[in-house]
Each structure stands twice: as structure tokens, then as C-alpha cells.
């Protein structure tokens, strides 16, 4: 009843092809933006911002990047942590070594460095497929883990291997308080989400999806696998690299290579799968699920007043996390995004049964 498109006629190709063709969707989007930009900074506590919203935004960005690679192009990658690390360290190097480098430029440079690495480790994908590729990408993960610890120039000569940034600002506006950091990350996420959405709606996105579905057939009809796969790796690594830079600069402030280890890679892969492969929306859902769930699970026993020690609580979190992942995969293997689109389909008919 509310979600019908009756009366919404399009009179130009442009309006027909827009991202949100239905008016209600556009209104919802504007409301969401208002909520995110205006309301949340006003009412959320600093703890909520630093512990939930900022990690959510940054990990959603990284999941977005990974979704392009895994969901749209079908190349399973377990080395995402490495690309985040490269983005973070490259941005750090540029920021510290060049005085007065603008923050945004450093982060984008981090993304570029990550792109180079991504394309390099994407080359095997031209030969190797499926699970073999997944394990091969672990080579990138472990190599970068090692390089960040061993190669002195990566950490600008830090004896301990730990680096930190301070005094972040954009054109003089400081990025210090939780609200400022939140808005900064939000801007990045919004811009890149729009970018990604338009990419996947365009020709390159269709090429990726063709490669994902049937790469031999795609090659037969003239899609160059080299171009498609390597651009997928490139775009994906760029976004993941920028997310890595944001993670290090905005969320952690001070980090060591272990912040981007294999657990991070698995976490991002979970986000993408649970959120929904091949769906921009899915990255957001997945990130929200994975960021919020452990915190809720950690706090759950205390809400019910059950006095258990932190070790058992932590183990329970692991168990419930694992069980929920399996449950989700059984119930909806296409992720929360599919649940969402099913819900929207039902909403279009509501309150009528058919």
C-alpha cells in the first residue's frame, strides 16, 4: 500500500536508470542520510560512536571492497587483511615523511599502494580458480604480515614495529573527537558506496558478473578475463586499502601488523557472506551484524544477571558466533541482503496477499 510505484512514470532514460527509481526508496535514503549525519552524532554517546559506529563504517567500506571481488567477480580472496595493512602503512608513510601532506591524499595514496599489491597478487587468478585461489591469496596475507614486521622502512624505522598517527586534520578542521571521526568515515563510506554502486551497474560490473557466473562462456562472447579480473582486484584493493588507512588512522590511532592479521580477513569474508554476496547493501548488513554481534554477546550474560567469568563469556561468544554463522548459512545462504529484498517484495504487495 505504501510501497507501490503507481503513478511514478519515468519520461527519460536517465530517470529510469537511476539508482533509486522508486520515490519511497529515495525518501527512505534521504531520511537515512539525515539520521546518519545529523541525528546520530547528536544523540549517540562517545562510546557508541567509537566502539560501534566508527568500526561499522570502516569495516562496511572494507566489506564493500571485498564484495566487489568475491561477490561480483567471484574470486575468493582470504588476503583482505593484507590489503588493509598495505593501505594503512602506505598512508602512514606518506603522512609522516611528507610534511603537510593532506590527510585525504595520504589515505588515497594508501589505496593506490594497495591497488598495486592487489593487482600483483591478482595475477595468479588468471590461472588458478576457486578454493585454490583462496588459499593462494593467503600468501599475500602472510607475506604482508611479515613485511610489515621486518622491513624497517614500512614502519619508518620504528624499533618496536608499532606506529601511530596524531594531529589529524582536514584543511584545518581537526579530526579528533568521536563525532568528527564518525563524520569523516561516513563521508568516505558514502562516496565510495556511490562509486561502487555505479561501477557495478555499469559495463565493468556486468563483465565482473559474467566472469563470476561462467568465465569460459564470458571469454567466448568477448569479455577479456584478464581485464575483468585484474580490474576487480584493482578496484577492490583500492577500496580495501582506503578502509585500512581509515582503520589505522581513525579507529586505532596506533597499530601494529597484528591488527590486520588473518582474523581480520576472515571477519571481512564473514561480513560479505552473511551480508550477501554480490550486493552493495549486503556489505552494510554484514558489517553491522559482525560488528555489533560480539559486543552484544559479550554483554548478554550480564544483562540477564548471570554471573559468569569473562573467560566463559568469551568462549560462549565464540560458540554462539559460530553457531549463528552456520544457522545463517543454512537459513539464507544468500545473506541478509536477500532477506531484505524478499521483505521489500512482500512490502510491495502489503496489505494484499498477492
Amino acid at each position: 500500500m505504501l510501497y507501490r510505484e503507481n503513478g511514478q512514470f519515468k519520461s527519460s532514460y536517465r530517470s529510469d536508470q537511476q539508482i533509486f527509481p522508486i520515490l519511497q526508496d529515495r525518501i527512505a535514503m534521504v531520511a537515512l542520510l539525515v539520521l546518519a549525519v545529523v541525528i546520530v552524532p547528536l544523540i549517540a554517546s562517545p562510546y557508541l560512536l567509537t566502539a560501534i559506529f566508527i568500526p561499522f563504517l570502516i569495516l562496511a567500506l572494507a566489506a564493500l571492497g571485498l564484495n566487489i571481488l568475491v561477490g561480483y567477480c567471484g574470486q575468493i580472496s582470504l588476503g583482505t587483511g593484507a590489503f588493509m595493512a598495505v593501505g594503512a602503512y602506505a598512508a602512514y608513510n606518506v603522512q609522516t615523511r611528507i610534511d603537510g601532506m593532506p590527510l585525504i591524499a595520504s589515505l588515497l595514496f594508501g589505496g593506490l599502494a594497495s591497488t598495486v599489491l592487489g593487482v600483483l597478487f591478482g595475477v595468479p587468478s588468471l590461472r588458478i580458480k576457486g578454493l585454490y585461489l583462496a588459499v593462494a591469496t593467503l600468501a599475500a596475507q602472510f607475506f604482508v604480515d611479515w613485511a610489515c614486521l621486518r622491513l624497517g622502512w614500512v614502519t619508518n624505522g620504528s624499533s618496536s614495529g608499532s606506529v601511530s598517527v596524531a594531529g589529524l586534520n582536514v584543511l584545518g578542521l581537526p579530526i579528533e573527537s568521536p563525532v568528527q571521526k564518525y563524520l569523516f568515515a561516513l563521508v568516505f563510506l558514502a562516496v565510495f558506496a556511490l562509486l561502487a554502486k555505479n561501477l557495478v551497474r555499469g559495463a565493468i560490473g556486468r563483465e565482473w558478473m559474467a566472469i563470476r557466473d561462467m568465465d569460459v562462456a564470458a571469454a567466448v562472447i568477448g569479455i577479456r578475463p584478464v581485464y575483468a579480473k585484474l580490474t576487480a582486484f584493482a578496484v577492490s584493493s583500492f577500496i580495501v586499502g582506503v578502509a585500512g588507512g581509515l582503520w589505522g588512522f581513525i579507529h586505532l590511532g596506533s597499530w601494529e601488523p597484528a591488527a590486520f592479521n588473518i582474523d581480520r580477513s576472515f571477519q571481512l569474508l564473514f561480513m560479505v557472506i552473511i551480508g550477501g554476496l554480490g550486493s552493495i547493501m549486503g556489505s552494510f548488513f554484514g558489517a553491522a551484524f559482525i560488528v555489533v554481534l560480539p559486543i552484544i554477546l559479550d554483554g548478554l550474560p550480564y544483562w540477564f544477571g548471570i554471573p559468569i567469568d569473562t573467560a566463559t563469556a568469551s568462549h560462549l561468544t565464540f560458540m554462539i558466533f559460530g553457531a549463528l554463522i552456520v544457522f545463517f548459512l543454512i537459513v539464507e545462504p544468500h545473506g541478509i541482503a536477500r532477506l531484505w529484498s524478499t521483505a521489500k517484495e512482500k512490502l510491495r504487495l502489503w496489505p494484499f496477499p498477492h
Binding site: 554517546s45 604480515d145 614495529g161 601511530s164 594531529g167 586505532l252 567469568d309 565464540f318
Partner: protein, 438 residues
């Protein structure tokens, strides 16, 4: 997306109400960051248990600090930096006045945040070695030692064993270290000493968490060093000893830092670790008065945090010391800012900077024989630079050296250089004498 935001807001509201009562007027809150899961749990657990038991004992025996009861909340970090930061953010708002992160990685991450939030960090025997310089690191307190003092004392001890530091010329000393900020911290000092005395330093990294060390020990066998320093944590320590046994390297020639010389590291190796030496900042055993008090006031009443036979072990006692120093800082702060009142982070920081625990005070607290006297100041956030070497005989640890003191002649200049570098990077200025009085 909107419904998701709504459920997030609901969850947040629930959390805000449910995660405990805000520190009330007469309660001093201590957040306890700990790890009871993961590869470092075997060592992290007794440490955390010691901290909790001490608080419980102070509440039971003394009724708190001058009438102010102590509350705590433990948060599981799993030795991961981002979880440590999340725990910190969640618990700092409850009136946290001092924090022991229990991990070097988390210390690095929190060092930047605590200055803004005004909560001091106690990093007893770990953390940034340069943070000994209180003029730059206002909020870090590496009490009783850092990795540079530890490395220094080990070299001194080895030198003594050889008959003089000059006899070290031409010798080979290998360091098998955890490949992380924790393991890499002692390198600057070891390199400095290596230059001074002419011994060859061989660095053998072990990828975290250190469960696979065959290649490391094959390299030890290849190089045949005269001594091996072990700089590990958690499961890496026992694995190192097992691999040392498997490659036949004499355990008597192995010297571990004070984080590599506790019961969990050697218990399941048993006789295989016989002769292994490590530094220790404190004694172990159940005879000190404070341990007796804990057994009496906490464990006998069924309130013990961990198993009873863990009480008095090396890391447990170290946890006791850390908590004691935190509480004594509160007590000291109360002397200046108001007895019987709840202290803020800034006030406790002053307390930590003005600790003067002489032998008499230590005896009164029940710590006689457990640790050496300690006194901090504005410039010196370490307070004491003494440690001893103890050796495992197959079933227990016993001390095999006199008290060693780190050589400040070498360390002080290095600390100053490192602190200045940090200050330059972070655009901080050294504290003024006036600031020292605040």
C-alpha cells in the same frame, strides 16, 4: 537500514542501562583488562587472578582504601589491540582511574588516548621502554622495569657468569623473540651492549603466537650461540623449551625475560626445562604475609578468583604487585586530595608519580621479601630497576643470583633520545617543573 538503526539504538540503550552501575560516590572503580582465552591465556590468567584477588582482599580486610570500597569489572581482550581499545572505551566512562592493559600492543594504542582522557597506565615491566621518562610520557608508568632494563640485567648477569663484561668479546648471544612490538623492544639496548662489549647478537624471530619454532631452533643449532635469550609470551615459552630440548641446546644457557619465566611456561616441560634461567621481578611462594592474607580473607571464604594452588605463583604475585601499586597510588593521592574521597584519574596519576614505598611500608603491606622498595618521581616513572635471576630445577623455581640493577648510565641517554623522538613526532613539549607539582 532504518530498522537496523532502530535495533542498534535499542541495543545501545539496553547496554547503557545494563552494563553496570556508574561508580557511585564512595566507590573507586578499577577496570581490569585481561585475557583468559587465546594463545596467551595460560600466562594472562594467573596475572588477572592476582589483580582481582588483591582487590577482594583489600575490601575484605581493610574495607577498601580509607573507607572507599573498590569495585572492578573485567573485560576480555584476548591480547588483541582493537578489543583492548573497545574495552577501554567501554569502561573508562565508569570512573576509571588507572589501567593495566596487560599487553604491549594495547599499551601502544592506549598511550595516545589516555592523555586526552586523563587516565594513567601502569605498564609494570612491559610497554614502551622510553616511557620511563616521565617528562614526556606523563601518563605512562613502566613501574619496576622495562624491556631495556631487563635486557641490560641479563647481559650483566651473563657477563658476571663469564667473569667480566670484557670476557663477552667474541661470544655469540642469540635472542629468540616473539615477532611483535613486545619482542622487538629490547633490540636497541642489546645492539648497544653488543657494540660496547663486542659480542655477536643473533636475532631469531618467531612468528606469533610462537607455536612453530622448529626452524628457529635449527638456526640456534646452526649458529651454536654461547647463550640464548628467550623473549616470548604465552605458549611460545613452553614451545621454545621443548624445541630446545629436542635440538639438544643446554637449557642452562638459556635466559628468559621476566615474562618468560613462570610456572605455565615450564610446568608441562618438567625435567626438560631443568636449568632454565629467567629474570624475576618478584618472589613466588605462599609464605609472604600478603599471600597469607589473601588465602585467609579471600580463598578461605570461597571468594578466590582462580584455583588455590595458583596463589603465590610468579605471575599471580606480579598481578598482586600491580594492583597493590595502583591502590597505593590511590591512597597516596587521597593523602593530598582528600582522605576518604574517590580519586579521579588525574589525582591517581599524581599518586603514581609520588609513590614512596620504602621497606617499612612494604612490610606493613605484607610485601616484605616480595619486591624491592620503589619510589617514583616526575622524571622517573619506573621507580625501581632491580631484578634477580631464578632457575627451574624440574619442580620449582629458586633464585640463583643476587639482585641485579640495570645500568642507568647506558639506559638513561637512550631513554632520553627515544622520548625526544616521540615528543617530536607527537609535537609534545617536555613538562615544566611547575607541571611536576600538580
Amino acid at each position: 537500514m532504518k530498522s537496523l538503526m532502530k535495533s542498534l539504538a535499542l541495543a545501545a540503550a539496553l547496554m547503557a542501562t545494563a552494563t553496570g552501575v556508574f561508580a557511585q560516590a564512595k566507590e573507586q572503580f578499577f577496570p581490569l583488562l585481561a585475557y583468559r582465552t587465546g594463545p596467551y591465556a595460560p600466562n594472562g590468567t594467573p596475572w588477572a587472578n592476582g589483580k582481582q584477588d588483591y582487590i577482594k582482599m583489600i575490601n575484605a580486610r581493610d574495607g577498601g582504601v580509607n573507607g572507599v570500597k573498590i569495585t572492578f569489572e573485567e573485560c576480555e581482550t584476548g591480547y588483541a589491540t582493537d578489543k583492548g581499545v573497545e574495552c577501554y572505551e567501554r569502561l573508562k566512562g565508569k570512573g576509571a582511574s588507572v589501567i593495566d592493559p596487560q599487553a604491549t600492543g594495547i599499551t601502544f594504542a592506549l598511550t595516545d588516548k589516555v592523555a586526552a582522557d586523563k587516565i594513567p597506565l601502569i605498564t609494570l615491566g612491559y610497554g614502551l621502554s622510553a616511557s620511563q621518562d616521565g617528562n614526556v610520557f606523563k601518563w605512562n608508568f613502566p613501574l619496576m622495569g622495562s624491556y631495556w632494563t631487563a635486557a641490560d640485567m641479563l647481559i650483566q648477569h651473563i657477563g658476571k657468569k663469564e667473569g667480566g663484561l670484557d670476557k663477552l668479546k667474541g661470544k655469540k648471544i642469540a635472542i629468540v623473540y616473539h615477532d611483535s612490538p613486545f619482542g622487538k623492544e629490547p633490540m636497541p639496548l642489546l645492539e648497544e651492549r653488543s657494540k660496547m662489549h663486542g659480542f655477536e647478537l643473533i636475532k631469531i624471530p618467531v612468528t606469533a603466537p610462537g607455536v612453530e619454532q622448529k626452524s628457529a631452533w635449527l638456526q640456534v643449532r646452526q649458529n651454536r650461540p654461547d647463550y640464548v635469550l628467550l623473549w616470548g609470551w604465552g605458549v611460545m615459552n613452553s614451545t621454545a623449551l621443548k624445541e630446545a630440548q629436542a635440538t639438544g641446546y643446554p637449557r642452562e644457557k638459556m635466559y628468559g625475560v621476566w615474562w618468560s619465566g613462570a610456572e605455565p611456561d615450564v610446568k608441562d616441560v618438567g625435567d626438560g626445562a631443568k636449568g632454565y634461567n629467567a629474570l624475576n621481578l618478584n618472589t613466588s611462594g605462599q609464605s609472604p604475609k600478603v599471600i597469607q592474607d589473601i588465602l585467609k580473607y579471600v580463598h578461605d571464604k570461597g571468594q578466590g578468583t582462580g584455583p588455590k594452588d595458583e596463589v603465590g605463583s610468579v605471575l599471580y604475585t606480579r598481578g598482586l604487585i600491580i594492583q597493590m601499586l595502583g591502590i597505593e597510588a590511590v591512597r597516596r593521592a587521597q593523602e593530598r586530595f582528600g582522605k576518604g574521597k574517590v580519586m579521579t584519574g588525574e589525582q591517581v596519576r599524581w599518586g603514581l608519580e609520588n609513590l614512596a614505598l620504602d621497606q617499612k611500608k612494604l612490610d606493613a603491606l605484607g610485601f616484605s621479601g616480595v619486591m624491592r622498595p620503589l619510589s617514583t618521581s616526575c622524571q622517573d616513572h619506573m621507580g625501581s630497576t632491580w631484578a634477580r635471576v631464578h632457575t627451574w630445577d624440574g619442580s620449582k623455581w629458586s633464585f640463583t643470583s643476587d639482585w641485579l640493577q640495570a645500568d642507568e648510565q647506558i639506559i638513561k641517554p637512550m631513554v632520553k633520545v627515544a622520548a625526544d623522538k616521540y615528543a617530536g613526532e607527537k609535537k609534545l613539549t617536555r613538562r615544566t617543573p611547575a607541571d611536576c607539582q600538580s
